[in-house]
Amino acid sequence: MSTATTKVDTITVTINGQTIQVPKGTRIIQAAEMLGIEIPTFCYQPRMRPNAACRICTVEVTKPMNKMFMACATEMMDGMEVLTDSERTLKDRQTNLDLLLTQHPLDCPVCDKGGECKLQDYSVKYGSFENPFETKRKDFPEDIRSVALDFNSNRCILCGGCIQVCGDIQQVDAIGFSKRGFITVVGAPMGEALDCEFCGQCMDVCPVGAITSRFAKYKFRPWQEEKTQTTCTYCGCGCQYDLRTVDGEASRVTPIEGVGPGQGSLCVRGHFGYHFMEDDRRITRPLVRRGDKLVETTWEEAVSEAARGLAGAKAAGAGRVAGIAGGRLTNEEQYLFGRLVRDVLGSSNLDSSLRYGAINGVTVTREALGVTGMMNSFDEVRAADAVLLIGCDITQEAPILGLAVKEAIHKGEKPVLVADSMKTEIMKRGAGRLVYTPGTEIAVIKGLVKAVVDEGLIDEQVAKKYPKAVQALRSELSGTYKEIETPTGLKKDDIVALAKRFAAASKGIILAGPRVTGGLKGKSAMTMLVDLAFLTGGLTTPGAGVNAITMENNELGLALNGMAPELVPGGGSWDDAEARGKVATAWNCSLPNHQGDTMMEMFDAMREGRISAAIVAGTDPVGRLPQDAGAAEALGALDCLVVSDLFLSETAKRAHVVFPARSYAEKDGTVTNMEGRVQTITSCMKAPGKAASDWKIVSDIAREMGHPLEYANPGEIRAEAAALVPQFADTDVTNAARGGVSTEALEAWLAGGFGTGMGERYDLPAKLNEASGHEMRLYVGELLFHSGSMSTYNWGLMKINDAASLQLNSREARKLKIKEGDRVRLTGDRGSCVVTAKPDPNIMPGTLFFPRHSVLDDVRNLVQVVEGSEEEGSVPQFRFTRVTMEKVSGVAEAEASA
């Protein structure tokens, strides 16, 4: 029997006389590709089901029947014989091209696709130059109403690839065919202007120049461009793409099919966010403070001033220097920055943008499971049976991981279960939905764990293998649902139903967003999710697991490089004397004895004068945190603040020395994405002025301080770092491929960290959704179009979306007579401000949403920061606050307040 089944699985086929064994179900075009035989196609996309619209791939099948077949759509049979270059095939191909060219205009010289157009290439290769058919060309006006994409219907060959990618991969169905027959056109429904996510994937799949980029219009020719494969640095997904440059200027971004986490998909930020490198606001020369002003100076003077300031603080006492790094730095730069602070400056006060929330996700998975970063790879998410998203607006925060989730749902009709504080885009596809009060993630998670325990949804093998741990959880969760229902506004039955659906899946993946890790008691919440995964078998089943997504590009690099006081390079704990000793040996130095301050503690120490100098690279704490965090006063009180950044950020404005840094397009190195892949970024543009890589800046300061850290290139740094961080040795390997969770790690955790502190873990914070004088709950979060301040320097992205408007429930808005564009006043405990309102049906009543990318807006400063305790990873909660909203009546008042 077994031989029979294997026979069925592979078939033998012959193409152009070459015989090959292929798996059953292989289509002619795929088999030809394996043999290296090219079959022309316009509409076939390897990632999508065959469309069979363009008909250019017809090939002659001689056995078992003599017929012409679509190579893209025909699954091969055993013993099939195909001819792709027979006379009949070539004749059909030529006729097809002739028919296409009866309509397609010959405006190649002014078409942006000219030079990489499939129709052009095939016409030269297979076409005739004497078209026997009567030409009948269209003359539709070109649709340029959409901000990013132009539609030229005259060039369209109606292959439908764009519609398919929009529907199948992006799954937004923003475009479709309208009209019939000769006047069929592609565009937004009802002939309206396209207003979608602007992922630009339709443009990528278009074989002709029917869909082109507004931002790159007429600015390039494919043969003038230089292609550089690099990594997108907007979010933690780390997609691979070709950054194309013409004479050193970025012309556009094109995806690479089948490569990297995105497998050839890009989002709007990746596709159109390539303008910030050439922005005029870039800092090009080092600046030093002279009185109230920052003045341009020479590199040498800036280095010596920075070194003098830092050395002075170092000499005044141990731990008087602090360092804060960001996820914008490459792995190499982060490593060297950490070495500068810990080795050269001899201070343990090293923190990073991990503190904005990601640290909780990273430390929990590392302590419990021994994995730094995501447990599952994007491919495992694509193959998941169920995905549970908590506090995670995945299509906005990590769009390409969002596509993986969408693929998981679409392919196997599998459920996606979403718990969030507003109706997110992915929630609309959700099989199970929980919409809770903002800021109460921890209660929702507790409810889910409780439901799993109470309803007997525990994985049988887990219950059998680890009865003690299960019993411990059972006794911990013996309370009622009341404490969960009251703050979250959810009903017990809904929570139980969601838990049941998740537990029913064999390969269930949990994805926790920044609202879990950065919310109140974020570390406990994340640990509870690990408990949830443990109970449902997620830690013992391959392909299942629990993951926290990271927001900044190289946040995982920060964790691996130990860029937090509780971590050491290699991702180990600071308390671990062995790990610390390894670092001290590698650096040939003695590390400071005590654990350093976290970011919020640093700010206190700066205000009190215990820290007098700091170096900040690749992050902007003043612009990121609300005023209430006190970053501005703290950094302003320093004797010496050294900042390296691309733009004069809020932090840089308060600095004594500012170094111009390089963008990802101007430096070499590696970055780590959220699934643990170390991927390279390659320089392809000229840095403006004196801008230098951060590792160069660190190296120069170290040399000036008499403690040289000399390297010729980032590769040398990586080689050194790889001794401490083994992950840096290989590129493009995910955590899942590295081995994922080991049984030993899980058992060690169950014996240790699991039991201790379980009581505190499941204690809900008292402040959860407490009554206050302000009835609205304001959430400051991410948008798809802007992931932080960097994206706002892209004129392209700003054209697509520059609105920083307050989103509120549309029904509530109607009740309050607030229309789109009206000005409303928000008043909180930390002041008040006036913003533009935008009613949105997806926001829940009593809830407000404001995008965080507008760094200059006052809304961020309304937020009251809740400092996290040390057990909770010292993560400040700065995403939620409570405000009162009132409509500003009258234009005069609105203007006066503005």
Binding site: P141, E142, I144, I183, K219
Partner: protein, 205 residues
């Protein structure tokens, strides 16, 4: 014999015979630069850019000349015409005459007959930088030597004689689909679909 030839220097006399014969023929030396040779049409002299009769630039910035140039002396920077979306033109155009080998491939590649070669061969300058022609200089040459350019294009039959008559400059201007900011997309009237036909289509739906 040899001795006699040596004594009478016959070789010398044979040579001088040609000299004396030429002395009595009319002279053909041109008093260059006061007098110049007539240059045939199609001569490959300095490059020039041409305009249409209404003054618009012919060049659409397609960069095909740049691609065809064997000595890489052309650089085109294309863009949209400011204020006229979708109309393509060369924002900048550079031609390095010091590297140009006057092969004329660029004029053959040009789809809009914007490039033509003049009959100017006196390219000597005091400063080599003056031989880096930019767009303004090329259009100026085109204006000054328009007749040369026309003659060049006609002589080389840049168009195959079917699209438009060879005599004079052909009008193969590119047609840019009009921009309709109001409606965009489909304009059925534009392809001869009448309003009645549309009505029928709508009622049947």
């Amino acid at each position: 014999m040899g001795l006699i030839r040596n004594i009478f220097m016959t070789e010398l006399l044979m040579g001088l015979k040609i000299v004396f014969m030429q002395m009595f023929k009319p002279t053909i030396t041109l008093q260059y630069p006061h007098v110049k040779h007539p240059i045939p049409d199609g001569y490959r002299g300095l490059m020039s850019l041409l305009r249409y009769e209404d003054g618009t630039e012919r060049c659409v910035g397609c960069s095909l000349c740049e691609a065809a140039c064997p000595s890489n002396c052309i650089k085109v920077v294309s863009d949209e015409v400011p204020g006229q979306p979708l109309v393509r033109y060369a924002r900048e155009y550079y031609l390095d005459i010091t590297r140009c080998i006057f092969c004329g491939f660029c004029t053959e590649a040009c789809p809009v007959d914007a490039l033509a070669m003049t009959k100017v061969y006196e390219a000597a300058v005091y400063d080599r930088r003056d031989l880096m022609f930019d767009k303004a200089k090329l259009y100026e040459l085109g204006e000054r030597y328009l007749e040369d350019g026309k003659a060049y294009l006609t002589h080389h039959r840049m168009d195959d004689g079917t699209l438009h008559p060879v005599e004079g400059l052909g009008d193969n201007r590119y047609h840019f689909p009009a921009v309709d900011a109001e409606h965009g997309g489909v304009q059925p009237e534009q392809i001869g679909l009448t309003a009645e036909a549309l009505e029928v289509e709508e009622t049947t739906r």
